[in-house]
Amino acid sequence: MRHKPIALAVFAACCATTSMAHADDAQLKSEVEALRAELAALKSEVAQMHAERHTPAIAAAPAASAPATGTAPGSVAAPAAVTTVADAGPGMPNRGIPLTESTTLWGYGQLDYNRPTAHAADAVADLTRAVIGFNHVFDENTRVYGELEWEHAVTSSEDSGESEVEQLYVEHSLSQNYGLRAGLMLIPLGLLNEHHEPTQYYGVERNFVEQAIIPTTWREGGVAGYGTTDFGLSWNVGITTGPDLGKWDPTSDEGRATPLGSIHQELQLAKAHDPSVFGAVNWQGIPGLQVGGGVFSGKIGQDTSKQTTGDPNTAFFPADDARLLLGEAHVRWQPGPFDFSALYSRGTISDTRALNLSFIGQPTPVPKSFWGGYVQGAWRALTWAESSLVPFARYEMFNTGASYAAQPFGLGTPALPTERVWTVGANYYLNPNVVFKIDYQDFKYDDISLGYGNRFDLGLGYQF
């Protein structure tokens, strides 16, 4: 089994040799040298593998296919088969995955314990999520990337768990600097949405702003282009499906907890009459500093009243043209052992007046605007070899119903009060991929139906 990739690699090396026919002589010479060295390395490795059959850290490189035709003259195929260990530094555990196939598995998970201080009987322990991800390489420029998630441990029609595909897209790189994606993708807004593994954020729960305003984990189906530039700007633009305002439930608390989270479609037979567009940029031209922002916009009315699923004589939807506009800006600065970040996001939904008129008096009308922001500081206070202790503090302000469209006779809904939350706690990294978390959250306004109320949290997260 394990010899097959090596054989393929050798074969690929031969192909690469052939493909170099047009390279200039000097370069050719050095390349041949390189290949000789590689072959020698391969031979020694094969011998070594016979000797150490059970060594887990050996990783044979995947077979690299010959370079695509049309490659500009002068550029040569990548070194076809440089064998190496996956990754193991002195004094560090081998985290090498034997990369003997072109499919790789990875994953993360999170277990939480929440204990409201005023209602201790409501304490909950939960296996919040377990995620398996995969990456399969079709050829050197094309791969499929997917993430499968189970939430709340048990999933069935009678349990509260959910089983979902969180990402699933094919990516084709057109160069080292840019490429295209198509499929179910994470919307690149905010700091968390694309990087939501528990080791990546401070505190047991993800921050409220990036749940209530930016509905992490937010994904849509569509196509996108992405790239990076040498001066540190990375960009990502796309055209995707969008939320469905027809799903709004004015009787439920969910729209108050997260307006967009309550109407996202997750590519589940998603209504797709109107495409949405997004654009996001990040600048990381100075190491340790990240400045970025993004916008998402689309019609979320989806021409619902013209759909043929309802009875055309009676079905009606008064917000066919409603449009969502969500913007976001963020900065993260990591000087030395410190980690500071700040984020602000604001969204608006247009044409909600007639829809809210039909909901008048209901607890949760559609907001006209909603916003939130936070500042956060963390300090890598203690480090022992692989372990570290990082206390942090975060202050958040957010409002999921900052304004509502006016209604006749003064019967409209007043704006919600702005919630403010302090979170203080610490992440203890047993190693960079396993984290224990503890924090205390202080809410300005308690709201039992949304789970807002001072509480004490414990968590465990991992990533591999």
Binding site: Q27, A37, Q48, P67, A88, L174, L180, T228, Q284, G285
Partner: protein, 177 residues
């Protein structure tokens, strides 16, 4: 009107497809040869070095590890070394070239091949510049003297660990030879 409605999806899709025409001209990689020239413009010869001794590799915490090593020479003068190695980013291998001068100080770090769907920011020149001037006597640790990249945590961590290992390799093997 109907055409406009159709254009709602098709036009932007078409625009997105435009870069595909450019694909044929795109530079896909920096080759080993290009990396050699970029790091040691004055070198007349890149002498391939024999594979790493298995015992040394194991000793450095990486059994079976065998980076590709070249000695850069100009006449009888040794200019330094160029080492090609790979680490895993999140799911796929990153190929990089580390150039050391004759004293074992990092001269440059180039990413030859990065294909993964996220974390490509390790290619940013500003980030790679952090390694220039590093020696085996320095920590070369992420979140210590090397800043991580948010959004490319694993890639930046693993490359840093790889450079750290190559500096130790220089200390153990290359300097003496």
């Amino acid at each position: 009107m109907a055409e406009l409605a159709r254009a709602r999806w098709l036009l932007p899709l078409g625009l997105l497809a435009l870069p595909a025409f450019h694909a044929a001209y795109a530079t896909q990689y920096m080759s080993v040869g290009e990396a050699q020239k970029a790091a040691f413009a004055d070198a007349g010869e890149f002498r391939a070095m024999p594979p790493l001794d298995a015992a040394v590799a194991s000793d450095l915490g990486a059994p079976g590890w065998s980076p590709q090593m070249f000695e850069a020479r100009a006449g009888d003068q040794r200019l330094g070394w160029l080492i090609i190695d790979r680490v895993i980013g999140k799911a796929e291998l990153i190929t990089y070239a580390l150039a050391l001068d004759s004293a074992g100080t990092v001269k440059s770090l180039e990413i030859l091949d990065y294909r993964e769907t996220h974390g490509g920011e390790v290619r940013l020149p500003a980030w790679r510049k952090q390694f220039v001037g590093k020696t085996a006597q320095e920590p070369v640790r992420i979140d210590n003297d090397i800043k991580n990249i948010s959004g490319a945590t694993l890639s930046s961590r693993h490359i840093t660990e790889g450079v750290h290992r190559l500096l130790q390799l220089h200390e153990r093997v290359l300097r003496a030879g």
